[in-house]
Amino acid sequence: MGSNVAASERAPSAGPSISGPGTGSGLGPKVRRNAKPLPWLEPGIFLGGLVPLVSLVLQASKDALGANPIAQAENELGLTALIFLIASLACTPAKRLLGWTWQMRVRREMGLFAFFYASLHFSTYLFLDQTLDLGAIAADIAQRPFITVGFAAFVLLAPVAFTSTNGWVKRLGFRRWQRMHQLVYVAGVLAVVHFIWRVKIDVSQPLTYAAILAALLAVRAAFWLRKH
């Protein structure tokens, strides 16, 4: 068992390595030369991404969500979803502008977190806010633009989240997969509009998120124009 691990750890790496070839130096084994870089990043973001949910559940159990806990939960879950969506959309511009690559490792994870929180946000609306009153839900989606666009954002995110695995990249072919995943931009814009339209009058917070999203899309557009 141990020797298998050791063998794979010691296997020469095809990629570039800081420590150089691991033979003959006698200065001890070259450890984890071809192991995944930054192995702590994904679990770190996974644990951190669960914090808003854990905090919400703890606060709800202590009745510490204020006078209108359902509205509070809806707001927190929706905002967390939007933040993860914007974070996942920031990965590529960060690579283009700053040359960073580490964030590409967690782009999928953050996108899935966005969908996870969007699902909780939508479920809270369906089950707790509207207590599954189908008539009221249908009327909301059909007649209230802010709910229409929020619902549309969720519907667009669902297939993107579902096909996020490597298997689906192969199955669809990279080009088609990529084009399909560009729906995320549309979902991001709809989510921000949903936020702006929901607010009674003080749009400063949603406009802040809208400005960040607009800047990220502008970076992409600039690089796209330069390429074409």
Partner: protein, 326 residues
């Protein structure tokens, strides 16, 4: 090194790789938890709210025995808790979040306080709040309060009928409306530094609405002095209208010939009107007004025309198109 290892039985030697892996494992674990703390902390900072504020401790305003058990206008429904009534407030002068007024309204100075009565009255005057409190006997009114945001409460106010004050200052024959104005002082009301609304907050009633016995000027709640976040020292309560008509911390009452421009109707004329009568038939352009969540309850309930006060007030609007005059 080699010799040291050779001296011990090989079974006792921690394989070097395992040792290094363990060190690496601990290091990676530390990085993972550091990342989790940074990401989780950042998210909580952006979306979380911290523990809700504590309800204020206000002195009793009247002797508990002086409060009649039930009055003719009292809603026969369970009261919303003092905590919820005093920690869930829309009072943008102290911040747009509902827990902000309870946290920050302590900057308001409610003494000395005067109310200026102006306009079409035969007895214009500036009234000290403590004088005003002696003019009329205080009574408790348990009213439903329906916010335009589709939540509601049941609140035991302490106050006196607005009509008593109106009659005392004697409106002239020209007076058709009453305009109320909130204090304008961004030092005491830091929310006024942000131009989300056209400060100071202004509200208005038709004179016959102001004379209706349900319209109340409140100075207390739950038998206690009105907390700052609820509109101390003097606020309007019009239970058949949406909550935003209940202007807080009033400094001016002006009688006019023409309809006053109320703040929300100025800010978003397609969403908020002058009348703002609770009406399940007329939706807000962005959300339904057919139902409401009573604070403290899980299931939504149907909203009643005129917030359940139709019998008393519907006559005021006979012949009016309430879809147009929303």
């Amino acid at each position: 090194m080699r010799r040291l290892f050779a001296d011990s039985p090989s079974s006792e030697i921690t394989p070097e790789l395992l040792y290094l892996n363990r060190r690496e494992f601990i290091k990676n674990g530390a990085y993972a938890f550091g990342t989790a703390a940074a990401v989780g902390g950042g998210l909580l900072w952006l979306v979380g709210k911290g523990p809700p504020p504590d309800p204020p401790e206000e002195p009793p305003l009247v002797d508990a025995s002086a409060i009649a058990a039930t009055g003719p206008y009292d809603a026969d429904e369970p009261l919303t808790s003092y905590k919820d009534v005093t920690t869930y407030n829309n009072y943008y002068e102290f911040g747009v979040d509902k827990d902000q007024p309870a946290r920050s309204a302590n900057t308001l100075q409610t003494r000395p306080w005067t109310v200026s009565v102006e306009g079409e009255v035969t007895k214009p005057q500036v009234i000290d709040i403590d004088t005003l409190l002696r003019w009329f006997p205080l009574e408790q009114r348990i009213y439903r309060m329906r916010c335009v945001e589709a939540w509601s409460m049941v609140i035991p106010w302490l106050g006196f009928p607005l009509a008593d004050l109106v009659r005392r200052v004697e409106p002239t024959g020209k007076a058709k409306f009453v305009e109320f104005t909130t204090l304008l002082d961004s030092k005491q009301m830091p929310g006024q530094n942000v131009a989300i609304l056209d400060w100071p907050y202004v509200e208005g009633l038709r004179l016959d609405e102001a004379l209706h016995p349900l319209a109340l000027l409140a100075v207390g709640v739950y038998g206690k002095t009105l907390p700052h976040q609820n509109g101390a020292p003097l606020r309007l309560v019009v239970p058949w209208k949406y909550g935003f008509k209940g202007i807080k911390s009033i400094v001016k009452i002006r009688f006019t010939e023409t309809q006053p421009q109320n703040t929300w109707a100025l800010a978003a004329p397609n969403e908020y009107g002058f009348y703002a009568n609770v009406n399940p038939e007329v939706n807000h352009p962005r959300w339904s007004q057919a139902t409401e969540r009573r604070i403290g309850e899980f299931q939504k309930r149907g909203t009643l025309p005129f917030n359940g006060y139709a019998e008393e007030v519907a006559g005021l609007y006979a012949g009016m198109d309430l879809r147009k005059s929303f």
